[in-house]
């Protein structure tokens, strides 16, 4: 009897440490994505300042006393800004990929949380020698199926050249 209890306690401890490792991995992943999002926000703040500066120059040029040299210089800046805007726009598109990753991590986290509850019930059932244990595999299957169904509804967040090339196929005009 004491040996059975010992095995049950060991099982419960093993499940507990497994859950802690999962939680740590998800936490770290969220931190990485969070840091990238912070960097992306900073980049976009800088873009906003550049855009504001360009608008200010434009407003100055609209004054009647602006010289021809200044107007030529402004035209040059406008052309370069257009090129820069195009490049920045593509970088920002890549940044959106991070948001897709964040959403996927949240979906995984939800599934893990549900599974953790089930594992804890399992551990308690082992300790209590509960006959309801037979239903646990089915419940585990339900959690997995639910996660897979939600995941399937979302587009892949893969971000490779092939996807870039097929970009217009992502758009449907009704």
């Amino acid at each position: 009897m004491s040996m059975e209890i010992n095995v049950s306690e060991q099982t419960a401890l093993l499940i507990g440490s497994h859950l802690q490792i999962d939680a740590a991995i998800v936490r770290q992943l969220k931190e990485v994505v969070g840091n990238t999002e912070h960097a992306a926000m900073q980049l976009m703040n800088e873009c906003q300042k550049l855009s504001d500066a360009a608008n200010l120059i434009e407003a100055m040029l609209n004054q009647p006393e602006s010289s021809e040299e200044l107007r030529t210089y402004h035209q040059l800046i406008l052309e370069r800004n257009h090129h820069l805007a195009s490049g920045i726009g593509e970088i920002i598109g890549h940044i959106q990929f991070q948001d897709g990753v964040r959403q996927r991590i949240e979906r995984i986290e939800t599934a893990i949380a549900k599974r953790n509850v089930l594992f804890l019930v399992f551990a308690q059932s082992v300790v209590d020698s509960d006959q309801g244990l037979l239903e646990l595999p089915l419940q585990m299957r339900e959690i997995l199926d639910e996660y897979l169904a939600i995941e399937q509804r979302h587009a892949s967040v893969a971000h490779d050249q092939e996807q870039e090339d097929a970009s217009m196929s992502k758009f449907e005009f009704f």
Binding site: E37, A40, M41, M44, C47, Q48, S51, A85, S86, I88, G89, E90, I92, G93, H94, I95, Q96, F97, Q98, D99, G100, R102, Q103, R153, H154, A155, V157, H159, E164, S167, M168, K170, F171, E172, F173, F174
Partner: protein, 124 residues
């Protein structure tokens, strides 16, 4: 006169990235982080030339926002672009039936987004 685009998404990162792309290309932008806030802005007098909306949002989702927007006479013909990670065909069909103008899957690069907007707003 710059055209105004209303961007509706609960992700601050998406709102910021899309509005930055739009502003760099000469558009004026407004934003809301859920359908209810967007609808309130429209009812309060905001007159965007185009609305870009996500589907999965708290309080009021994108499908309900499209439905409610189309009930407002002033916005019966405003183009509405759905921008989402959702790929479910039934949701697409529902959005289309309710009056969405187009559907694009995130993430969307700057060049593609501007190309789409020019299709939705000819002459912009």
């Amino acid at each position: 006169m710059a055209l105004t685009i209303l961007v509706v998404d609960d992700s601050a990162l998406i709102v910021r990235s899309v509005t930055t792309i739009l502003e760099l290309n000469g558009y004026k932008t407004e934003s809301a982080d859920d359908g209810e806030t967007a609808l309130a802005k429209l009812k309060a007098g905001l007159k965007p030339n185009l609305m870009i909306t996500d589907i999965n949002m708290p309080i009021m989702n994108g499908v309900e926002l499209i439905k409610q927007t189309r009930m407002l006479p002033a916005f019966r013909f405003m183009p509405i672009l759905v921008m989402t990670t959702e790929s479910q065909q039934t949701l697409r069909d529902e959005a289309k039936a309710l009056g969405a103008t187009g559907w694009v899957v995130k993430p969307v690069g700057g060049e593609l987004l501007i190309t789409i907007i020019k299709k939705l707003l000819p002459g912009a």
